[in-house]
């Protein structure tokens, strides 16, 4: 077992754990291949189990022979361990550093994790493209499921099955793929059943400086338009950035070649800028200097809220084209694996009520992020504290979750899930016992045999006893399109993530409990009244929630 070589001191007694807003715990620290465990060995105290994969950075300090390790986690928590003995402390620190930066995917915890629960519904089989297509087929016959990418050779970042216009054959797809960055030819992302308009996504076209064109690509895109209809191409980059991309062989659709399409440029930032933004906002939130001006200027300088606004605005724009203009939309940026997915997935949350349910949201994450080839493992390799040189880390998915949270705040009764659900997803993208977010593409996930060797996050989340925590008690299905406000005054700092470890939420949590109580009590009373009045031959009181409740007793 090679982990053992990395663990010089597996166990230290008399370690003191400091966490903000919680009492200190003294106990025994144990290191295993995947966890840092601290236990006071008393029955009633909780143990700390920290995945090494969750550790973003550590700092060591020594005062005499007492060593201190500050552990900074990817979920933004910071804890402090006081370890008696300099040697033990150094050993522990070195081991943590080594174990938290293992490069090989196959050494990750999900490959070792054995669920303590019975998997009733296997999350790996829940959201298959075939199933999604069946639903589409019931609404329209304009699309087909293509196996052109079944061995991932046309586009390594696409799934084996993609939905494309019926009239376009696989040969054309292959040709169109050569014209798109990374082979990401335009595919169907969303079908708006109200008016048949669609969101397509792709990567940038490889026009280069010479203005190359591709008839198959043009035909493919036009095939998504109904007769006499027009569409919008939303390029998530500014025109300047898109122009620059030409020099590197990329580019954008020349309107002369795509006369039925109007191009709109937006300004969603690229990955390294987003990562800097994350680092800065986390730094601002951890600054306890207590000055109002300093806080506001740091918040401003982080640009985080600006990113949220820009992404949300672009998604709203896409949704507006579909629902209001009755026009189809093609979204792309450069690679089509980051900002593109933020826009297409958020637009669906705005447009499609099903995406606001727990299952629907899971399906959305599967379809628009995992199967669509968002490189989770690269993007989430490091978080806000890491001192390592940045490679391709970026909080692209976290920004998406932040945007969802903003919409949830504005439509608190329209989502079946609550904030905890979003925070949980954020945690699991950075460190998890489940295999769902491992790997960078569908092809890699197949190669890693994730579905056989690891447990799906959804298998765990969808168990009734887990799901309960993630349900929104205020939920009432809302079949409407929901248009969020994107004014700066309407966008809030996501405290549940960024201030999570810097404040006590006891009072807020208790208030939330009280609200839940009022809602539950209301259901209970409605039931009681209904039962009693029906017993009295009076069946007028059909409360809205009666239908799906069991009648208990008088």
């Amino acid at each position: 077992m090679e982990f053992a070589e990395l663990i010089k001191t597996p166990r230290v007694d008399g370690v003191v754990l400091h966490r903000p807003f919680l009492p200190t715990v003294e106990g025994t620290l144990c290191l295993t291949g995947h966890h840092l465990i601290l236990s006071s060995r008393q029955d009633n105290t909780e143990e700390l189990w920290l995945l090494h994969a969750n550790i973003d950075a550590i700092e060591k300090r020594f005062i005499g022979s007492l060593g201190t390790i500050i552990v900074k986690c990817k979920d933004l928590r910071i804890i402090q361990l006081d370890i008696p003995g300099m040697e033990e402390c150094l050993n522990i620190a070195n081991s943590i550093e080594a174990l938290s930066t293992l490069d090989s995917v196959s050494l990750m915890y999900p490959f070792f994790y054995r669920p303590m629960f019975e998997v009733i519904e296997d999350g790996w089989n829940l959201f298959l493209p075939e199933e999604a297509f069946k639903e589409l087929e019931s609404m329209t016959d304009e699309w087909r499921l293509s196996e052109v990418n079944k061995d991932f050779s046309i586009c390594p970042s696409y799934p084996a099955l993609v939905t494309v216009p019926k009239d376009i054959d696989d040969d054309s797809l292959c040709k169109a793929a050569t014209f798109r960055h990374g082979g990401r030819f335009p595919v169907l992302s969303y079908y708006h059943k109200k008016n048949g308009m669609v969101i397509m996504r792709a990567s940038q076209p490889l026009t280069g400086t010479s203005g190359r064109r591709c008839k198959e690509d043009e035909k493919l895109i036009n095939a998504t338009l109904r007769a006499g209809k027009r569409g919008y191409i939303i390029d998530t980059r500014t025109i300047a950035v898109a122009q620059q991309a030409k020099a590197r062989g990329g580019g954008f659709e020349q309107e002369a070649n795509y006369p039925q399409w109007r191009r709109i440029h937006k300004a969603i930032e690229r990955t390294n800028i987003l990562q800097e933004s994350l680092i800065k906002i986390v730094e601002a939130c951890n600054d306890h200097s207590n000055s109002m001006d300093r806080w506001l200027s740091k918040l401003e300088a982080s640009n985080w809220q600006s990113q949220v606004k820009e992404i949300l605005t672009t998604a709203c724009l896409a949704a507006q084209c579909i629902d209001r203009e009755g026009a189809s939309v093609l979204v792309h940026g450069t690679e089509g694996t980051d900002s593109t997915l933020q826009v297409t997935s958020l637009a669906q949350i705005i447009l499609e009520p099903a995406c606001r349910t727990v299952r629907g949201f899971q399906a959305l994450v599967e379809r628009e992020w995992l199967q669509a080839g968002h490189p989770f493992q690269q993007r989430c390799a490091q978080s806000a504290y890491s001192n390592e040189k940045l490679r391709s880390e970026a909080p692209v998915f976290l920004l998406f979750l932040d945007c969802v949270w903003q919409i949830l705040r504005q439509f608190p009764c329209s989502f079946q899930f609550n904030e905890h659900f979003l925070v949980m997803l954020f945690e699991h993208t950075y460190a998890s016992q489940f295999g769902t977010f491992l790997g960078t593409t569908a092809a890699e996930r197949v190669k890693l045999k994730l579905s056989q060797k690891t447990v799906s996050l959804w298998s765990w989340v969808n168990r009734p006893q887990e799901l309960e925590r993630f349900l929104n008690p205020l939920y009432e299905p809302n079949s409407l399109v929901i248009w969020p406000s994107v004014a700066p005054q309407s966008l809030l700092l996501w405290e549940g993530v960024f201030l999570r470890w810097n404040r006590s939420t006891k009072c807020l949590d208790e208030a939330y409990e009280e609200m839940v109580h009022i809602i539950e009590y209301n259901k209970e009373l409605q039931l009681k009244v209904w039962v009693r009045s029906s017993a009295a031959g009076q069946r007028r009181f059909m409360g809205p929630c009666i239908s799906h409740m069991h009648i208990l007793s008088l």
């Binding site: 506001l296 507006q320 203009e325 009072c507 009022i518 929630c545």
Partner: protein
């Protein structure tokens, strides 16, 4: 009315200040209100603006569509009309100019407002809040503190109330001597008594110390306050001003207490800025948040440079200092600023709110305002610009206090019996001059105006519709567990109060309101409880009954009086309202809305056109390729 030149103007356009939405309607000018009624719409949208709420009217330069009229209100409503004919616009403009600047109290709305109550109801309304009872509740008078009649006729201090509580050892000559050494005669008196530690919160104005002046009576007075508390050997003196301001005042013969002259005091500056800084700060804040297409960074920078949240935090910090001194150290505290009616009122009131759960109840909060603000002479008339007065006297001091309370509510959602809507209503009526409570600058002036005989009390009005203002998650047991609130003062806890400063900007608010939803459910719960009991009783009497029962205690018709439409509470309350809302919005999809079936439905999609996500100015016909296509949503129609 002689000031109204044109009572009605048709075909007036109302422009939304944050997007390009316009509505056409008719403008009416009455003796008390400016009313805009949307035309040609069933269930038309109406806007009623009380003249007293109008802070400024501006006539902008003529455009092709007419003459624009910009009206800014003290309740943060901003309306932008376009009147087709310049002549009409000028008439409305000049009428408003006269109407919004009443010159005498008699012109205020309160003197003509008649809520159809009889004399007895009016009298009862004025008796609802009783400060004598409040001091009794605090355990006063007691062995150390007595009620003094020195100000019975407002002779010693005309801006103080008649009834004042002072230490038993403070004799009349000491009081009178001390008052002569204090700005505007506002000598130290008790305003709150923390019974558990026998510690008093006292308030006064700055001493007239100049560079070296002393006053033995004043020194005695502070000594007496100190001696009245056996728990502490000293008394804190909190000067709520920045030190620099206090120093500058010395040149004018005023200043602050010299620790060498007063035995056993601990002197402390707190650093809350003066009314002029606060006025400018709010102005800047409103300018920033009123900007169209505001970027996040300009918003945050503007928030910072306005200093508004910094000022709010300074007041909360001061109140926390006061609270700790009293509740932890058990020391008495004397609070003052310059005249002792602005910052002193803010800090004393907020401190009391932190210390005493009673003030966090609906009625207790009224008592607190009645005591710290109304009776101790916060100059509401001047600060809220009730009469045409000196603009330099206007300042959002009370607004800041409400803002501070809201910040506390955010941290302690279960601590307050009332919701933010109550605060917003209070703010509304401090400026509305519809009720007598806040008229004038002092108790003496209010008595001279015979307000209790000629106007109605706001407290009675608010209590009569208190179900609207209740906080559904309020927990009395929270107060037992947290008698003293200890708020965090980390800067991120201080937030921009959108629901106050944008209360009329509907596009900014959440489309579904948790507060309203929960409040409705809670109300429905008590109705359901009654119904369940009634049914139970009937079932018992009937045995296994077959005859239909009369049920009347729970149905939609028997709900409480309808909740007024509020943008703050956001979402519509009922299915019917929801539909109205939809109609107002015009084009929202409703075809597959869930079957209402009498159930609550608080769902609404807002309109995409209102939010301005981007500029779609489509023109497929244009031949040259634009660098960036901008489209105006809702306007864009694709041709060719």
């Amino acid at each position: 009315m002689e000031h109204i030149r044109t009572p009605k103007v048709e075909q007036v356009k109302l422009l939304d200040r944050f997007n390009n939405k316009t509505t056409t309607g008719t403008l009416y000018l009455t003796a008390t209100h400016l009313i805009f009624v949307e035309s040609n719409v069933p269930g038309a949208h109406e806007i009623w603006i009380l003249h007293h709420h109008i802070a400024s009217v501006e006539k902008l330069s003529l455009t092709t569509s007419g003459c624009p009229l910009l009206i800014q209100c003290r309740n943060f409503r901003v309306v932008h009309f376009v009147v087709p004919r310049e002549r009409d616009c000028h008439d409305v403009y000049s009428s408003l100019l006269r109407l919004l600047r009443p010159v005498s109290y008699d012109e205020l709305y309160a003197f003509s407002y008649n809520p159809k109550q009889n004399e007895q109801q009016r009298e009862v309304g004025w008796q609802l809040i009783d400060l004598t009872a409040e001091f009794e509740r605090l355990g006063l008078p007691c062995d150390q503190w007595q009620l003094s009649d020195v100000n019975r006729d407002y002779k010693v201090c005309e801006t103080y109330p008649r009834d004042l509580y002072v230490p038993i050892t403070a004799s009349k000559p000491i009081i009178v001597g001390s008052s002569k050494f204090r700005s505007k005669g506002r000598f130290p008196v008790l305003t709150y008594f923390y019974q558990e530690k026998k510690a008093a919160v006292c308030r006064c104005s700055q001493p007239l110390s100049g560079f070296s002046a002393r006053c033995l009576e004043d020194e005695h007075m502070l000594q007496a306050i100190s001696k009245a508390n056996h728990n502490s050997r000293f008394v804190y003196v909190m000067d709520t001003r920045p030190k620099l301001n206090a120093l500058a005042n010395r040149a004018a013969g005023k200043g602050y207490e010299n620790e060498d002259n007063y035995s056993n005091i601990r002197f402390q500056f707190v650093g809350i800025e003066n009314i002029h800084v606060m006025r400018a700060s709010l102005q800047k804040l409103l300018e920033v948040v009123g900007t169209r297409s505001l970027s996040v960074n300009d918003y945050l920078l503007g928030l910072e440079s306005s200093g508004w949240l910094r000022h709010i935090k300074a007041i909360v910090d001061a109140a926390i200092f006061l609270t700790k001194a009293v509740t932890v150290e058990g020391a008495s505290v004397l609070v003052h600023c310059s005249d002792g009616w602005d910052r002193t009122a803010q800090v004393c009131a907020l401190g009391a709110l932190l210390m005493d759960p009673y003030y966090r109840t609906l009625k207790g909060f009224m008592v607190l305002i009645e005591k710290e603000w109304i009776s101790f002479g916060h100059k509401f008339a001047d600060r809220c610009d009730q009469l045409d007065g000196d603009p330099r006297e206007v300042s959002p001091v009370f607004t800041q206090f409400l803002d501070c309370v809201w910040q506390l509510m955010e941290q302690f959602p279960q601590a307050f019996e009332f919701s933010e809507w109550f605060l917003i209503q209070l703010h509304e009526h401090v400026h509305s001059c519809q009720f007598g409570n806040f008229l004038g600058n002092s108790q003496r002036q209010r008595e001279e105006l015979q307000l209790k005989d000629r106007t109605y009390s706001l407290w009675a009005h608010l209590l009569s519709e208190q179900h609207n203002y209740l906080n559904p998650v309020y927990s009395p047991s929270f107060a037992e567990r947290h008698p003293v609130l200890e708020p965090s003062t980390q800067p991120w806890n201080f937030k921009f109060w959108r629901n106050m400063y944008h209360q009329f900007d509907r596009t900014m608010h959440p489309r579904q309101s948790i507060l309203k939803h929960t409040l409705t459910l809670k109300e429905s719960n008590s109705k359901l409880e009654d119904t369940a009991h009634t049914l139970q009783a009937k079932l018992q009497t009937l045995g296994v009954s077959t005859s239909p029962l009369e049920l009347h205690s729970w149905s939609r018709e028997h709900r409480l009086p309808p909740r007024p439409q509020s943008l703050i509470l956001g979402a519509p309350l009922s299915r019917k309202e929801a539909q109205q809302e939809e109609e107002v919005l015009g084009e929202e999809a409703l075809e597959d809305a869930p079957d209402g079936n009498g159930g609550e439905r608080t769902v609404e999609g807002s309109s995409a056109t209102e939010n301005g996500y981007g500029e779609l100015q489509s023109s497929f016909s244009s031949k040259n390729e634009p660098a960036m296509v901008s489209l105006e949503f809702g306007v864009a129609r694709m041709t060719c």
